[in-house]
Every structure is written in C-alpha cells, then in structure tokens.
Amino acid sequence: MREDRARAERALEESLETAFAQRSSRRSFVGRSAGAMLLAGGLGSFLSACGITGTATKNVEALRAEAERVNHPKVPIGNWVFANWPLYMDKSVLKDFDREFGGKVKYVEEINDNNEFFGKVRQQLTQGRNIGRDIVVLTDPMAAKWVRSGFVSPYDKKNVPNAKNLVPNLQSIGYDPERQFTLPFQSGAVSLGYDIRATGGEIKSIKELFNPKYKGKTTMLTEPYDSASTVLIMQGKDPAKATLDDMLGAIEYIAEQNEKGQFRRFTGNDFTTDLTKGNVAIVLAYSGDMVQLQADNPNLRFAYAEEGCITFTDNLMLPAKVAHPYAAETMMNFLYEPEIAAKLCAYINYISPVDGIRPILEKSDPEIAENELIFPPDDVRKRLKLYPSLSTSEEQTMYEAMAKVTGG
C-alpha cells in the first residue's frame, strides 16, 4: 500500500516537474498575472468610461400618453415576482391569489429601505432594462422619483376595476395626479411615540421632542423626509409646499438640537427597541410600528401631533419594461377587494387605502376597527400632511446635509 502511494506521489511530482519544465519563476508568473489584471483593469475603466447614467427627468408627458393607450391583454398568470417590505403581507392572501388565479407568485421581502433598494436596481433602470420584478412597493418620495425618471410602466386600469375603492383623499397625488403609475398599498403617519410612565402624562405637541426636559431621552428619524418635514410642521409650515431651503433650515434645527445632546440617536424603524426598553421617553415614530408595540405594552402611546403630521404612502408600482403586467394588475385588483384588504389590514395594522373595509372589520375584528392608528378619526385626517416634492439633485443636497448631522 505504502509503496503504491509513494510511487503515485513520485509520478505526480515528475509530471508536475515536466509541466513546469520551462518553469516560469514566481516573479514572472506574478508579473504576467499583473499584466492580465491590468488588462482587466483596462476593461474595467473602459466599462466605466461611459460614466454613470443619471436619473434626469424623462419625458413624463410621453409616459402619460403611453398610460392613456396602455392595453395589457389577459394572459395566463404564470410565474411572476412581487417585491415588498418585510412583514408587510398576510401570506395567506398570496396563497388565495395563486389558488384563485393560477400561476405562482414569487414573493420577495427584499425592500428594507427605499434608497437601498433603488441602489440595487438603479443600473438596470437607467439602462432601460427589465429588473426582474413585476410589482415593487415604494414610499412616496421614491415613487415620485421613479415616475419622473421614467422607471415605471403604466398599469392598465381596465384590469384593475377595484381601484374605484381607493379612498378619495389618495385618488390624486402631485407626482401622479391620475394614479396612472402608482396605486397606494398602505399608508401610515409619522408622529410621536412615547412611554407614558416616562413622560408622566399625555404628549400632544412635536415641541416635546425638543423639550430640554427629555434631553438624551428622545430619538429622531434618520430619514430627512420624515424628520425635517416634522420640524417644518412644528414651525407651522406645510411640508408639501416646502422648498429645499425650508428643508435645510429644518435640518439645521435638528443639528443644533443634536449638538445639545437632545437625541440619544438617529433611527429607522429600530426606534422601537429604545422605546420598549425604556432607554428613551419620546420618539419620532411610524404609526404602523406602534400598533404592535401597544398590543404588548399599553403604556406605549402614539399621538397624532396637534400641529399635524406627515402621512406616507407605500405604493404598488410596475417597473419599466415589466414582464408580467397582467399578473401584477390582477394582484393589484385583488388587493383592492374590500374583503382581502380587510384581512390584510387586520394582519399588518397599517392604514388601508381601500374604502369600505371598516364595516367588515367591525364584524370580524372590532378591536382593529376601533383602533385610531389604523382608522384615524376625521379631525386627525384633516391634519395629515404630505411630503415635499424635491428634484433628484435637491434630494441629494438634503441627504448630504442630513448625513452631516447623523454622522454619516
């Protein structure tokens, strides 16, 4: 045995020696590899010499004209892709859909952040390629950016008759006045979350976030669309009409407060941990997240600030060059059936844009139907404000200013 092995090893050695007979020394080998790498580098710079395509405003009028003529014939559903945020769907709704309409929806919870997701698909979009998703769910400012950059496909309203159930106040929005490219999926509000044991009483005003009494015991949202707009509301300005300068002014205010140590930290959805663990007293919060927290701890409260608050909408959208528009439209239509919308609402606890679900929930889930975070009362609805509309380069300036404050 051992002899055999030794012989085999020797044979291998010999063959290798022959192979390396004209042995390239390590140095020359490395040298040649470096040459190959340089060549590849040349290729790399050649590739990028073309530069990075911008997201300048495309001809929105042409897109709107396309929307007028759009006609997506009825075809078998097949396999298609729905990209959404985590924990934002009752999966049984998807199963029901597959059962009722056939085909198979590949449901991916891949959107954790609008900007991050955009970064992932930006290149394909700017090059006018299909991104392999048939529905994406994006929040207003990002949805606006996709519409003005022509990254969307219009949907065929004939295939979405249930869109008539869209609540009146969302039927038109600045970036998509006739809802040709976007259909609201869920809405929520950005306002005050607090622990009533820590504050010792009800909190009503945004000013409390900046009250020195709570120094180091508050958190602020990293997203300037949310935080700076909230500051503007506190200052009595309407964020929907805000200019870049207004936003920069609000960010400046946040910076001053941060330097004084008012905020423990800047957060995304993770404000929940600091609040539930009692590290902070008041946070700038998303209403949808607060519903769940309250269920676990009744001391945690959410207040629609008396000055008003930002409402955001996440939108169902078909990306440009969408491969399965009919499947996507059928799903949009399905989600706008009041029974389905009610089921979804009871599961994810955000504000549903579908009219007529409250009576259904009153029967099936009275607690949800009574919840003001899911069904804001009329006086609150009047105080809900929309995001400012900024151009892409204004957005960049805003994010740059905010990043300086949050340390990034």
């Binding site: 790498m37 710079s45 530069g51 991050e116 423990r264 663990k277 990034g408």
Partner: protein, 287 residues
C-alpha cells in the same frame, strides 16, 4: 499545438480558475471603482470621468474624524479580542482534551445567526435599565445613571464580540501545531514554565497573532453594523459614511474615494505591522 507549448500551458490551466475569479471579482470592480472615484457629476445628469483627484482631498478633509475613529475602534477591538482569545485558544489547544471539537464548535456557533440579529440582541441585553448595565455601573465601567448603548464603548464591544472567532481560530491553529517537545526541551533545560511560554510558545504563536489581528482589524475598520445599531451620531465609522454616500446621498465618487483611502490606510498599517512581527509569518501559517 506542440507538446512543449501544451506543457507550458499547464500551469496556466491550474491557475485559471483563481485568475478568472480575481479578474472578475477583484480586478474589474477595483478598476471600475477607481474610475468612479475620479468622476464628477450629480445623480441627475450622471457622472463622467474627469480625473477629479480633489475628491480624495475633500474626503480626507471632511471625514478624517471618522477615519481615525474607525482605526481606533478597530484597533481597540483587536486588542480586546487578542486578550480574550489567547487564553481561550491556549486552553482549547492544550487543556481541553476530548472537548476540543465541542469548544471550537461553541466558538463558531454564533456565526450561524446573522450578524445583524446578534448585534440587535445586544441592543436588548444592554438596555439602560437592564441587569448588564447595572452590573457595569457597579464595576464603574459605566457612570451611575449612565448608559452603555449609544456610546463608543458599546461599538467597540460590539465589534470585539462579532469578530472574536476570527481571532480564536487562527490562534488555536497555531498553538495546536506547536511541537510539544520544544516546550519539554525548554523545561529540561531548566526553563520555568513562564519562561518556556515566553521564549518558546509565544514566539511560535506569532503567526497566529498576526493572522488573527488582520482578520479582526481589517473587516472591523470597514464595519458599519455595530455603529449603526449600538452607536449614535457621535460614533459613526467610515463604513457608515460610505454606506450613506452610496445609498442616500448618491455621491458615488466620494464613496469610492473613501473606500480606496480606507484600503490604502489598511494596507499601510498591515505593512508596518508585518515589519514589526516579521512578514513571513502569514505564509508560514498557511504552510
């Protein structure tokens, strides 16, 4: 093709998979990003190569604080990991007997859970009202009524925790491979146990220390998860800046330039460190 040519080609065939890998996943992206770092423009009109080297100067001017902080945090975490990992690896290699495998498994077990989840769990454990912070207050690590989370200490702790196995494993591999007879020989020659450790074990463990330090320090420098979960706006590391430049601000040239500066600084640091510990150590470990 002649036989000799074919023979000449053989080593290239052996190297081909690795070379292709290097070219596709290293060389192309690197050169691509170098050219991105020299572009200028804005996200609306796009970016074009203008050989704008000033981006580098601006990046250093604007973010030297975050650079220094990253190096400081990563360095501290590396030292902490070394202090914790050395005795642990020593114990596993020399004293654990048949539990060796089990202990090594325990060291890497946390890696089966995603880093974000593990770090977020620390956020829960280390809350201001929690038991852990109360004990740290008793020990004087945290001032009375003070907090641990949202401070630099928490970030360093998080990094040290997350990268500990990268220190333990190479140290264990080196220590385990040391020929025990050398230590016996040392004591035969009247070395005390401590002297034997100092003069035999420790020098032979240097390759492990070197490799472990690199494996911890390099990724720690670019880490952004610990700072964003356990830190505050005063603990931002360069990784957070790059992430925000790339995803939010859409300033790709600055993001790329910052990455290259980080790479340069790390390479320089490693070269110096290698000088101190002897550059052959890494290859010795690999052999």
């Amino acid at each position: 093709m002649s036989l000799s040519l074919r023979r000449k080609m053989i080593p290239w065939w052996f190297a081909a998979p690795g070379l292709v890998w290097l070219i596709v996943f290293f060389a192309v992206p690197i050169f691509n990003q170098i050219s991105v770092s020299l572009m200028s423009g804005d996200p609306e009109v796009g970016f074009e190569l203008t050989w704008s080297f000033s981006t580098y100067a601006d990046a250093v001017r604007d973010y030297h604080t975050q650079f220094l902080r990253s190096i400081g945090y990563a360095g501290l975490a590396t030292i902490i990991d070394l202090i914790i990992a050395f005795p642990l690896a020593y114990f596993i290699a020399y004293k654990a007997g048949r539990f060796k495998g089990l202990l090594l498994l325990l060291v890497i077990l946390p890696f089966f859970v995603s880093q974000v989840m593990r770090t977020a769990s620390w956020q829960l454990i280390l809350n201001d009202q929690g038991w852990a912070v109360a004990r740290m207050q008793d020990l004087g690590i945290v001032s009375d009524g003070g907090q641990f989370l949202a401070t630099g200490k928490a970030v360093v702790f998080g990094i040290a925790y997350n990268f500990l196995p990268f220190m333990v494993l190479p140290l264990y591999a080196t220590l385990d491979r040391i020929d025990r007879r050398l230590i016996e020989a040392a004591s035969d020659l009247y070395c005390s146990r401590f002297t034997a450790f100092r003069k035999v074990t420790l020098p032979l463990a240097v390759p492990g220390i070197f490799a472990g330090s690199l494996l911890v320090f390099i990724p720690a420098c670019g880490d952004y998860i610990n700072s964003s979960i356990l830190g505050s706006s005063n603990t931002t590391m360069i990784g957070n800046v790059i992430q925000s430049k790339f995803l939010n601000v859409l300033d790709y040239p600055s993001a790329a330039a910052l990455s290259f500066i980080l790479m340069g600084v790390i390479l320089l640091g490693i070269a110096l460190y290698g000088r101190v510990l002897g550059t052959k150590n890494l290859t010795e470990l690999a052999g």
